[in-house]
Symmetry: C2
Subunit: 430 residues, 2 copies
Amino acid sequence: MPYCTQMEAAKSGLITPEIDKAAAGENMAPECLRRLVARGLAVLPANRLHRALNPRAIGSNLKTKVNVNLGSSKDLTDPETELAKVRAAVALGADAIMDLSTFGDTQSFRKKLSETCPAVLGSVPIYDAIVDLNKPLKDITASEWLSSARRHAESGMDFLTVHVGLNRETCRKFKANPRLTNIVSRGGSLIFAWMEMTGQENPFFERYDELLDMCREYDVTLSLGDACRPGSLHDASDPSQIQELIVLGELTQKAWAKDVQVMIEGPGHMPLDEIEPHMKLQKSLCHGAPFYVLGPLVTDVAPGYDHITSAIGGAIAAWHGAAFLCYVTPAEHLRLPTLEDMKEGLMAAKIAAHAGDIAKGLPGARDWDDSMSRARQALDWDKMFSLALDGGKARRYRSQSPPELENTCTMCGDMCAMRNMNRILAGETV
Amino acid sequence: MPYCTQMEAAKSGLITPEIDKAAAGENMAPECLRRLVARGLAVLPANRLHRALNPRAIGSNLKTKVNVNLGSSKDLTDPETELAKVRAAVALGADAIMDLSTFGDTQSFRKKLSETCPAVLGSVPIYDAIVDLNKPLKDITASEWLSSARRHAESGMDFLTVHVGLNRETCRKFKANPRLTNIVSRGGSLIFAWMEMTGQENPFFERYDELLDMCREYDVTLSLGDACRPGSLHDASDPSQIQELIVLGELTQKAWAKDVQVMIEGPGHMPLDEIEPHMKLQKSLCHGAPFYVLGPLVTDVAPGYDHITSAIGGAIAAWHGAAFLCYVTPAEHLRLPTLEDMKEGLMAAKIAAHAGDIAKGLPGARDWDDSMSRARQALDWDKMFSLALDGGKARRYRSQSPPELENTCTMCGDMCAMRNMNRILAGETV
């Protein structure tokens, strides 16, 4: 291949097979998508070792994409359960899967993923450094941290979350501006702890050029982690968060100079009214690089329902420019998600993404809704089920409560507005 | 009592016991609330025959309130099940209950409600006219329609939904501007059918003065129904909907002239980006009368998850001025809700209401979130459960998946960011 990364190809005017395929999924001319990728406004995460990939692009001018997190933890280590989640998530329309395993033989698990999974794949290398090296955190060396990223690239991950922006400058702002919930990013807290214990600069920041060269080698997209994402409404839009975002913007331009694709990770917990301004600030500070948000969760008080608190924030975020939504499940803040939690979280995120696409005026986004409403008007239940985001659940709900009158439902029965309006407009009586 | 309605009392400068109690629930001076009620910017629905009422006010300057719909239908007639839903809804924090029964001895059911239920009570009289009179729709007389409203007032309902705005003028606009989903309001479709079959004007519009006099007699708050609320994204903000809203604004001023309290009912299905403008339009056309919205549902494609599609829209609506959210359950469009559906719908609506209150800057709204986040930071799980919107669910989730390390959870285990940050900031190692 005459290029290292999709961005390099795009900058040189080349339309790669991946651009071609991803553009088809967007109903967009490949040339249009090429231009977005060349400018960094869209990414096409495609590690050259991820052979099972069905490529898709991520950017605010495109369909909003949805990511599903999974992976084993020390308390729940069953790769088969996690693989079952992967298959279910892909079947339900997840665009990307992040493996966040923090225990077990994670390298084999990721390799299995990249051999079989068509979704975009991501991971967070530093967990593995801790798991594999099996020594005290403070004894891990800067080179070992860097090596962990290479191992993940070698296992075919399309994007890697690396908390590069938590440098000494960001840490100073964090310490000078106390928060209610400190640093809630798991990776960010580990890097912070390491920096505190060793007195050293963040290794990924200090040796960013090496990291970029490695990303370039595999065409790994960098997902610049937000260690200072707010873990409570109280901490949203505070100096730590914004300081880190400034650094992430600077890192974005350095990556682009080496043709490395970049996404920026974002909040977190955030009041409804701060979301639109934050999406705009990110666009400005990070030069239009795609924004990948976790939530935002619009209240802190609803553990057990954080798929809903985050769907509210995610819809607004997608409307105002977030390109990529990380799902949140009902298990958030409580436990590792089950398969059922995963499904609920994914459905909520897909609703948010689609609602955002409609609101941002994405051409054709509303056709799906119009088809569904036509089926509703015609009381064509089979059509409704086939069009529904989750036809299985809709069908189950209806079948558990069969109506007396065919075509109506047990809510309204013979007072069904659809049925009666159809009759009366046809000149019949009701 | 020297007054008929709360509005009359408020206009005359009187602070009623109901105003006193409702103001306490808002952390607001009674005099402030009195002024809002006098101007119609808040309503205090309190039928003088509803003796079990724990009064609360509804207005955009106040906490956003949440309503739960329930009631028997021809397919599912079990008053005991519905009463169990009422008790559960009140225990879970519903501010209001609407009985939408369309079958059985509904008058007894409502009387039982008003004798025992402290929540604000509402209903839709016209269903009953059809059920009780047991004759073809077209043979019901204008006087019989009016009488149905009186019967509901007599049974202690605090507010009545009446579709007064669907007059000949609105019907003309509806017919001239075909919709994808016609009229989806159950009550609205029945009134439309009646008008079409009899050739007569909407009886509630034609005899609006009588209706107002009756409302005044019992201090029933009129909830002016939106027969033309959009049933699909396609139909949102169309001429029928806006025409009716203009009429509702005119009807509002007529009601206020007789000291009758008024709420306006609103959408429905509506794209995310149309919600804020619609909230502003309603404020303008309806002179600041409280807006009571059903949803808005921000996509049509997710039957089985419409508690989520509506929580997204409801949060935005509450932020931008809706005062009262009607819950939507996962059973919407599919069946009569079960007790479990009711719970899920209510939790989603309460999340939307609270998120909206935070965003609109309601004083003190965020204290709850800050307390929760403090408990999270302290890893104080009992405190988190006691503060959670649904502590039972949160506790169940965690107990089903016990972590190895006390105080962490099975998501992160010993990589828990809260735990590690607390340690490192205390000078300990991780």
